[in-house]
Symmetry: C2
Amino acid sequence: MNTGVIKSRVRAVSRELKRRGINCLIITKRANVTYTTGFLGDDSWAMIVGGRSFLVTDSRYTEQAVKECPVSAIIERHEPLVAAAAKIIKKYKSAENISVESSVSLAEFGQIKKAIKTKVAAASGVIENIRSIKDEGEISAIKTAASIAAKALAQTLPVIKQGMTESELAGILDFQIRKLGSMNSFETIVAFGPNASIAHHQPTLRKLGKNDTILIDFGAKYKGYCSDITRCFIIGKPNSFYRKVYDVVEKAQAAAIKMVKAGVTIKEVDSAAREFIRQSDLPVYGHGTGHGLGIEIHENPFLKPETKGVFQAGQIVTIEPGIYMPGRLGVRIEDDVLVTETGCEILTRNCPHSPLLQNNN
Amino acid sequence: MNTGVIKSRVRAVSRELKRRGINCLIITKRANVTYTTGFLGDDSWAMIVGGRSFLVTDSRYTEQAVKECPVSAIIERHEPLVAAAAKIIKKYKSAENISVESSVSLAEFGQIKKAIKTKVAAASGVIENIRSIKDEGEISAIKTAASIAAKALAQTLPVIKQGMTESELAGILDFQIRKLGSMNSFETIVAFGPNASIAHHQPTLRKLGKNDTILIDFGAKYKGYCSDITRCFIIGKPNSFYRKVYDVVEKAQAAAIKMVKAGVTIKEVDSAAREFIRQSDLPVYGHGTGHGLGIEIHENPFLKPETKGVFQAGQIVTIEPGIYMPGRLGVRIEDDVLVTETGCEILTRNCPHSPLLQNNN
């Protein structure tokens, strides 16, 4: 990871901490540890103490940490994380007004309070809010993650054929992602026919029929950054009701995407897609219209009716309305967009865009 | 999921709650939600209120929940999880002495306290301890997960060849797992040569050389249960130092496995493997000697020097010592064993057992 980028992130976090009157932040959430240090491993905490950055890890990760963290002091612990963090605080007497990320577990927070022996507070959203605005390197990484996903799907589509199982199709797609040197950003969803009405369906041994439908929800990772795409296909004989539903979802998505722009309220965009479906007399989806993505597959902002606030330039979010009719069908279309001052840029445009007809039988 | 099994789990949890004087437990940890309800989805909580079991989920998961949960009342929420849980508590006036799992985040715990308006305590390990002893169905599921992993590796070994990347090999193995209708229990690790000294290495585009070594750490899932296996291979010309190290790790693992038995202290087994390596004048690994596995890939008990307590019949743990020499090599051998009254049963015996020589060039 680039030294300048990490330094500038540590500075941004330090500024926000200063504003909140916090002198020492214990960072326990993996994505936030990655963001502030560059470290991509697990089971480690970061700390920002009076503007200095630390990574607290163990021997499994030391070699990796040395490679990945250009700025942070790397502490190889031989005791529990909590004890190692307490040691650092003891060493830096200037560490006062200590906060822990509120995503920490209640159990660990209790241990931290016990080990540190001074007042410890909880801090919410310090890094999540900074992270929601992507810098150039992050935008470029997500674009690459989107391209890898698009390429993997393009390489998968020609081999889809009748009789193949959901699990096999997921496996082929995942293999293409691996071959491109990447990995899944989450477990690939492949759902045939009515299975697609389960929004988070896990691939089964259900076979693809002669006239069938396919929903694929998947993504790739590049340099720790995620892409997230959903596409739907019809195999064999067109199904007119499915096509109608597909058409409504596509238009609902377009209505939402058209509205995305810095300064627009998030709930307006969420509502645009829902309203379009409601007015088509089809059932409105129960999930959010989209979510931020970056180091995490789901991060701020969340596009939900109850979300407050407006879009900011540099945010990257999915737009993914759907229509689900249990026992009958499920259609969802999902793209990743970059919020700009003048609108938005669709980062997943190159991903094979849901041709409704595919004849591979 | 079998009705009788879930009922008996709810009874066991209720008994433990009674013993602790808890009348209502809010279960927020995904694996514990699965254990007490059968539900395999995400973003949902379970509750046990006066012996009754609830699953609090949303519309994305209702269809799946109806299929998977034979016992629990399924509540489809249209508000945040916290508000939905508070509603249930309000409805069941008998809900007193409320506890939340201490794995809950500090932020959510704060929201729960605010929403419920009565005293809420934290409870640690209620379900984790019960879950660490596997019932027949669980043992059988983990055995199947181990067989799937073994079969997938056996199908992968013949296609390993010089020039293949770590990422490609991981992709082929994952595809075999998918083809068997399963999925990864965690992200497959494939490390060639010195990359194996990073215990949690992520596969790269590094190519397999003519004379090279391979470490593969992977697992499959069956009915929500995990297997976890590590194997090492040499390709091409044997490397005598690597063979020596391999031999030490294999013997260290055997020394630990030989000691596993109900009633034996966990730290004794941990120490057996470490001591063998220490006496061979090779560097002792910094990670644990193993961990429980089941619904989670890492669960109780953890085989570490500081762990208190003894093995209990029905626990399933990995035994995975390793030797890591940065820039030079990494060797780890990992098997899954079922603790019995008389010793242990190795569940991963059928997985191709690290032939030191493979000639696929």
